[in-house]
């Protein structure tokens, strides 16, 4: 990806309509592989991970152009930062991960700070965490897991025998240490190969996750956006799914965010190099 940026579009943008603003350039400290972005409506801030510099950047909500972040979490105490995160604006925490460890930082931290707690250990079932989302109302933390394709072993797309698929782990928001998840969604009925960005909808206790299929397939079979419940456990199909096909125009959904006010699900799609907005009143 040749040009890192955060492009910001009007909600009603369509087609080739240009962004209303964009964050970019040396001063912004942005770099590629920003596989999450969160708008903190309580504090009017944008929070984004930059794993190439192992940092979490916080910008003003209205930041524009070559603007510097207002806070940076980075350094030896902070350690490595994964490519995804979520913000809990109520309890003032940022959730991320490094390796197979979930890390929690103070939202207001700035500089080289250590996590205030971590979740790690064999009982956690954390293996290749990739998506992350927190619900500060119902005190739920959800982790999406990646498959082992391209990470653990040099397997090929056809080598499905050694493909270890991902899943969704459900924890309590305040969990710490080597804790068992309260729920695990995984298995063939779930349809999950790997989970990318996730969102939680506290009002209906829903988990919304992008399932883009096998990473190396340009247009993978079976990709979808899935909606599960906090109470789901085991090999459970999603309650709702938006499949990738000609009708929906989805090809490889990577990111998702909800707009409850307008009952919209907004999906970023890698193979489309674009953003698709769906009206989905039934889930809100």
């Amino acid at each position: 990806m040749a040009h890192p940026q955060i492009a910001i579009f009007a909600r009603l943008a369509n087609g080739g309509q240009t962004p209303v603003r964009a964050l970019y350039g040396q001063a912004s400290k942005l770099s590629r592989t920003m596989h999450d972005v969160r708008y903190d409506a309580v504090h009017d801030e944008i929070v984004v991970p930059v794993p190439y510099a192992q940092a979490i950047l916080t910008f003003r909500g209205g930041a524009d152009g070559q603007e510097a972040p207002i806070r940076i979490i980075q350094g030896p105490k902070t350690g490595a930062i994964g490519s995804r995160l979520d913000v809990d604006p109520i309890h003032n925490e940022i959730f991320s991960y490094t390796g197979n460890t979930v890390t929690v930082y103070s939202r207001e931290a700035n500089g080289d700070v250590a996590p205030i707690r971590v979740i790690k250990g064999p009982d956690t079932q954390l293996k290749r965490p990739y998506g992350i989302a927190v619900d500060p109302v119902n005190d739920i933390l959800v982790i999406g897991l990646n498959s082992n394709f391209g990470s653990d072993e040099p397997i090929t797309v056809e080598d499905t025998e050694s493909l270890e698929k991902g899943g969704i782990l459900i924890f309590n928001r305040t969990d710490s240490g080597n804790v068992k998840p309260r729920g695990v969604i995984r298995g063939p009925k779930s349809g999950i190969i790997r989970i990318n960005q996730m969102q939680l909808y506290p009002q209906k206790k829903l988990i919304v996750g992008a399932m883009p299929g096998i990473i190396d397939n340009m247009e993978p079979e079976g990709a979808f956006l899935g909606v599960w419940s906090y109470d789901d456990n085991g090999d459970v199909p999603p309650k709702w799914k938006i499949p990738a096909n000609d009708r929906t125009k989805l090809k490889k959904p990577f990111g998702v965010v909800l707009n409850p006010k307008n009952k919209e699900v907004i999906i970023s799609d890698m193979r489309n190099q674009g953003v698709l907005v769906f009206s989905v009143p039934e889930i809100f």
Binding site: V257, I266, M270
Partner: protein, 380 residues
């Protein structure tokens, strides 16, 4: 009886209820939502991320990150002002090509094969013959983990040099390498000052490698890895270097005007280094011997140039021309190698309408929503 309920029936009931719940979840039929999107934000034009030129064959090869294409134009093409765009001579694109997010291209001066570097989403460098077009399988492909960005060849030694972003590394491969072949050697480690390396150019006469860095450091300490931010830089190494070596010299500082320095090209005879300066909408030219906080000797920049968010640059030393790949607008702009200041390009090859603004959405791994301003945030 009450005790019996507490100790026998209640647990049984709970167990049954749990079993029914688990079974109901497993037997659930998802509600499949099959509807068209209300809106679809998508750039209709190409986004040119890299360019290569071969004046002997008049080949101009560009990569389009937006629509996952490799396109060949005649290098002499000049889109008339009234034309919507110039049609390429051929397009290589599709799921068989192993080419997706291409950020580097190279033309073999003898065979005219096209080498294409996937900078993201696919760990492959496919190689295509002169007759390849459409959704073709490449002649061969080399697996390159870690997100490469630019390559340059030492044709005399039949070696390919490339920057690897994820590992802050330079890798040197056999030019004919394919499959899972490993690099012959790498330059990597804390002493190298490689910090999110992007561009790479070779001075074949003095046997030097020039590398442009965005400044995102990744320190491997005894307690694990952590990140740093540094100003952008150009670091210089011997071509035969290997391992955790210090750069011979470093160009870095505010006078350099570097702002996301991306692809580079080297002019052997003039001993000049050309840098596509992405976030400054400019091309910087340094002397090969420059070191420290030095100003460029020339800067191509300004509204007349048409340069907008340029990650790509190629030099035709024989004819003395520079080719610039712009992502901020769908064009390749051509300048004399001696151009300086706010000058109009000698030719412009457009892949879309004049004045079109590139959305530059690239591998959007996430999306956010600003509920206060009612805006959609799309990071690359």
């Amino acid at each position: 009886m009450r005790k019996a309920f507490h100790f026998v029936f209640a647990p049984v009931l709970l167990w049954l209820a749990y079993g029914i719940l688990v079974q109901a979840q497993a037997d659930r039929k998802p509600v499949v939502i099959e509807r068209a999107p209300l809106r679809f934000i998508k750039d209709p034009n190409p986004s040119f991320s890299a360019v290569a030129v071969d004046s002997d064959s008049n080949m101009l090869v560009v990569s389009d990150e937006n629509m996952f294409r490799i396109m060949e134009y005649d290098r002499r093409e000049n889109t008339p002002p009234q034309a919507r765009l110039s049609e390429p001579k051929r397009i290589i694109s599709g799921t068989n090509t192993k080419a997706e997010m291409i950020c580097g291209v190279y033309i073999d001066p003898k065979t005219k094969e096209i080498y294409a570097l996937n900078g993201d989403t696919q760990n492959w460098m496919p190689v295509f013959s002169t007759d390849a077009r459409g959704n073709v399988t490449p002649n061969r492909a080399l697996n390159i983990p870690g997100h490469p960005f630019q390559m340059a060849a030492d044709e005399g030694q039949q070696l390919l040099y490339m920057t690897i972003q994820s590992d802050n590394q330079l890798s040197v491969y056999r030019k004919q390498a394919s499959g899972g072949e490993k690099p012959l050697r790498t330059i990597r480690g804390n002493d190298t000052r490689l910090e999110d390396p992007h561009g790479l150019a070779l001075d074949l006469k003095n046997r030097l490698i020039f590398v442009s860095n965005f400044g995102n450091g990744n320190v491997r300490g005894t307690g694990g890895r952590y990140g740093t931010f540094a100003p952008p830089s150009i670091t210089v190494y011997p071509m035969e270097g290997s391992g955790n070596i210090k750069p011979l010299r470093v160009i870095q500082g505010p006078k350099t005007l570097m702002n996301w320095p991306a692809h580079m090209a080297f002019h052997q005879e003039r001993q000049e280094l050309f840098v596509a300066n992405d976030a400054d909408n400019s091309i910087l030219v340094f002397r090969a011997s420059d070191e420290g906080d030095v100003a460029p000797i020339r800067v191509i920049k300004g509204p007349k140039t048409g340069i907008k968010s340029p990650p790509g640059i190629a030099l035709d030393a024989k004819l003395g021309e520079l080719y610039i790949a712009n992502m901020g607008t769908p064009s390749i702009t051509v300048f004399p190698a001696t151009a300086n200041g706010d000058v109009a390009p000698s030719r412009t090859i457009r892949g879309g309408p004049a004045g079109a603004v590139g959305l530059m959405i690239g591998n959007p791994g996430a999306v956010g929503y600003d509920s206060k301003r009612e805006q959609i945030l799309v990071p690359n």
